[in-house]
Amino acid sequence: MAEIATTGNKGKGIRSDCFVTLELTTKGGINLQLESKVGVMYGESIRKLAHEIMAFLEIKNANLKIEDAGALPLVIAARIEAAVKKLHKTDKEYLLPVPAEHVYATARDKNRFSRLYLPGNSPALMINAGIHHPDGIILDLEDAVAPDKKYEARFLVRNALRSIDFYGAEHMVRINQGERGLEDLEYVIAHNVNLILLPKCEHAEQVHAVNKKIEEIVHRTSYIVHPIWIMPIIESALGVINAYSIASSADNVVALAIGLEDYTADLGTMRTMEGKESFFARSMVVNAARAAGIQPIDSVFSDIGDMEALRQNVKNSKALGFDGMGCIHPRQIKVIHEAFAPSSEEIEKAKKIVFAFYEAEKKGLGVVALGNKMIDPPVVKRALNTINLAVKMNKLAENWRESYEI
């Protein structure tokens, strides 16, 4: 084991984070050195927290240096705990309390238009993520975290799930691939996560392995706060070919996403604006998801400066049958929501159908008709969905039927 452990980030441009240097010693107690940008206001409370964590983790002698750039307690705690655990094996977890308003279950079929990727080791981006109201936030332990930061990121992601108010956004975590991903689950499953994103999914067995691990943790911790959903990400040719078996692999798989950067690399081609190269894969994912009765979710759009191109991209995505897409910048959220929202033509059409449906119900008719045309039940269901969505997105008044005229 290393003599000295470091965690966190420091330097120019680093905010809301701290850098911890820990050396375990054999005598002299805890020698704490704090350099904080907010020392005047929070110096005492940071010191108190640091000593409390050291005592809790049963470290009696150490040199602990904290270089703080305005980190919140959840960040400081994660950095110190990770540093300790790099040097000292213990099963104890230093957990901050979870405020009740941070805990909410999410429905299987909730809207997942937008999900905002947040690098799992960058606290500054996490704190305000919820104010932009994405449908989901993804704390990413996989590609957005450098290999040597993967260990400490787990503690930060765990604490973020518990302590940050994401204002109703679904709490998602993208775990790593393979064995490392299963270890990641230890840090998130009993800590207020709603959905696990499973990267590079190629076989149903990967979903089963994740579910087995989830069950084991839930059983061990008696954690039954809310359901934990899975969204596998298809990112390879093999994944595309196995899309349906993955989509239908377990009851808690609620959506199937596609990741196009890796997929196009796997094909040996390049990602283009018009996306011809991924048409087959995207259609496969849409069809597999629909066949399994879950949501198909599109890849991210990476040009964060071009909102018009994004809008066009979302329109194409919606036309292909997708129900949502990823975002890598908060400014993309609004555009994605607007483009996935029902258009005024769709709403008008849905209003006619839904109105006819309620009229038929009132008259006790079993069949819904519009003029002399029969309307099939799935069409009614879709129209009802459109109306619900329109109301939810403030595109239609809740009491629209009161003033509706045929």
């Binding site: 907010v38 206001m41 110096g43 919140l72 104010i131 932009h132």
Partner: protein, 519 residues
């Protein structure tokens, strides 16, 4: 004596009534203090004492200062139109130091990092104290109690008012002018160091005993336009270089890319729109910060969509405001300072882009001023308290770091909106009590944060108009609690009870004191 006779003013703040040996009036409330008497006067001059050929050029700045009678205890003024590119203020004090002159008062209209070297003259007694603004290192120096005299912070309007009212007498004004003629007529729109207007130097020209103009672009008489007349001027000095152009128009004025700040901008604009504050012929003032600039962009979108125009916009101008003027979305820019070369060009070439001065825009002891005619004013703050009082000069750690600028004066606009983050890193912006009061809450109408918008309860009209909005309207108390929930309750900075500077309100009364930082 640095200060004496402490009293509690109308806001409950303890302030001195003797400042650097002179009497001062404690703050009494908005519009409550009515001065009597007459304005400051200057000595009658005679053409007989000035060269008949109009040539006031002397060989050097040193010669000009010596001729102007530079001596111990004098008040020397400079302006800040060159911002961080100023090459004139520091040499003035180098010369004073070389001449062994002591205990000067420096009266800048603002200070910048390029002036930090003056701390050595504050230390060795060349300068006794600063009246104006103490930014960055100068503020830190002041906060640590190292300045000999008591610092006085004034707004741009307050600076004009104090000079006009005789609260402060300028012995020698040194005015850096991008273009001047030998008679001393000057402007800021031409020449290699063009900065736009020269309005901040108007009081100096009008009321100083001696006026020295320093230029690096001497033109033949007449210098047109003459933003300030040479008839005020005693000496003209030509230097190789009076400013660093790229630091004058520093390009600090870019639209923010921060999604959180863009959200503030979007909500602020939406608020103005839904509250009916934007209409055909309205007026606004948005500062140079990234968030304010973005609000301007949203305003432009709204005007364009509806085919409306703003009657006028108050500058600081920049390329975005100039674009609105040129597109016909704004009829006039009334401009106190320009932040980039597009602003300078526009002021030079476009008769609808008009120079204003602190006299026209901000002087509270005038027969009205423009600031109360502006419909929407967008401002920043370091802290706001639950009574809507706001701070712009000190940080929550107690250090004096910023000047007031025109901030205090623009509070008289019809609706004042502060888009501020709820917290910066871990530091809450909404507090129980601000460290220093620069603006009384009764003049501050709306606080827009990323976690909710608070309307001042005094603005029942706005509350009524926003009754059905989708914007997240909260009380300021709720916002404060949310900030503390996220950040933790901050400890107060440890101050000594020694006052190191005072904040003057727009009418010259003392609104608050700044204390020395404790160990």
């Amino acid at each position: 004596m640095k200060y004496d006779k402490l009293v509690t003013n109308a806001l409950g703040r303890i302030v001195p009534t003797i400042i650097n040996g002179k009497p001062a009036v404690p703050y009494m409330g908005v519009g409550k203090y009515r001065p009597t008497g007459f304005k400051a006067s200057t000595k009658i001059a005679s053409c007989a004492d000035y060269p008949e050929d109009g040539n006031k050029v002397v060989s050097s700045l040193k010669e000009a200062l010596v001729k102007a009678g530079l001596k111990d205890g004098m008040c020397i003024s400079t302006h800040h139109h060159f911002r961080n590119g100023d090459l004139v203020a520091v040499p003035v004090f180098d010369i004073a130091h070389d001449l062994g002159v002591k205990d000067l008062i420096w009266l800048p209209s603002a200070s910048f990092p390029c002036h930090e070297v003056l701390t050595k003259y504050l230390e060795d007694g060349t300068i006794d104290h600063i009246e104006g603004s103490m930014n960055g290192a100068l503020g830190k120096f002041t906060s640590e109690g190292k300045m000999k005299g008591l610092g006085i912070l004034r707004s741009h309007g307050g600076r004009y008012q104090s000079v006009q009212d005789g609260e402060v007498h300028i012995d020698i004004a040194v005015i850096a002018a991008p273009t001047a003629d030998l008679f001393g007529n000057m402007n800021g729109v031409n020449g290699p160091t063009a900065c736009g207007p020269l309005g901040f130097a108007l009081a100096d020209a009008q009321f100083a005993d001696k006026v020295i103009v320093v230029t690096d672009n001497l033109v033949s008489f007449p210098c047109i336009p003459w933003q300030i007349n040479g008839n005020y001027v005693d000496y003209v000095v030509v230097m190789d270089k009076i400013g660093i152009a790229e630091k004058i128009v520093s390009g600090t004025t870019e639209i923010t890319k921060s999604p959180d700040r863009l959200l503030l901008a979007e909500w602020s604009a939406q608020f103005c729109d839904e509250a009916g504050l934007i209409y055909d012929g309205f007026s606004f003032q948005a500062g140079a910060g990234g968030t304010s600039l973005s609000i301007g962009i949203y305003f432009a979108d709204i005007l364009r969509q509806r085919g409306w125009k703003a009657r006028f916009a108050r500058g600081g101008s920049n390329k975005y405001l100039v674009k609105m003027l040129e597109e016909g979305l704004v009829e006039y820019i009334l401009d106190g300072q320009t932040f980039d070369l597009d602003g300078v060009r526009s002021m030079r070439d476009n008769p609808h882009h008009v120079m204003t001065t602190p006299f026209t825009s901000y002087n509270y002891h005038g027969k009205g001023n423009f600031s109360s005619l502006v419909d929407i004013v967008i401002l920043g703050a370091t802290e706001v308290d639950v009574n809507f009082n706001a701070n712009v000069v000190t940080h929550s750690d107690g250090y004096l770091l910023h000047g007031i600028g025109g901030w205090m004066n623009t509070l008289f606009g019809k609706t004042v909106i502060l888009p501020v983050p709820l917290f910066r890193d871990r530091i809450p912006v909404i507090r129980d009590e601000v460290t220093t009061i620069c603006g009384p809450g009764e003049l501050i109408d709306v606080i827009v944060t990323e976690r909710g918008i608070a309307i001042n309860p005094l603005r029942t009209d706005l509350i009524e108009k926003m009754k059905n909005t989708n914007l997240p309207i909260r009380t300021i108390q709720e916002l404060k609690e949310e900030a503390e929930k996220i950040c933790g309750k901050p400890e107060k900075p440890k101050f000594t009870d020694e006052i190191v500077a005072v904040i003057k309100w727009v009418d010259g009364t003392v609104i608050d004191s700044v204390y020395k930082i404790g160990k």
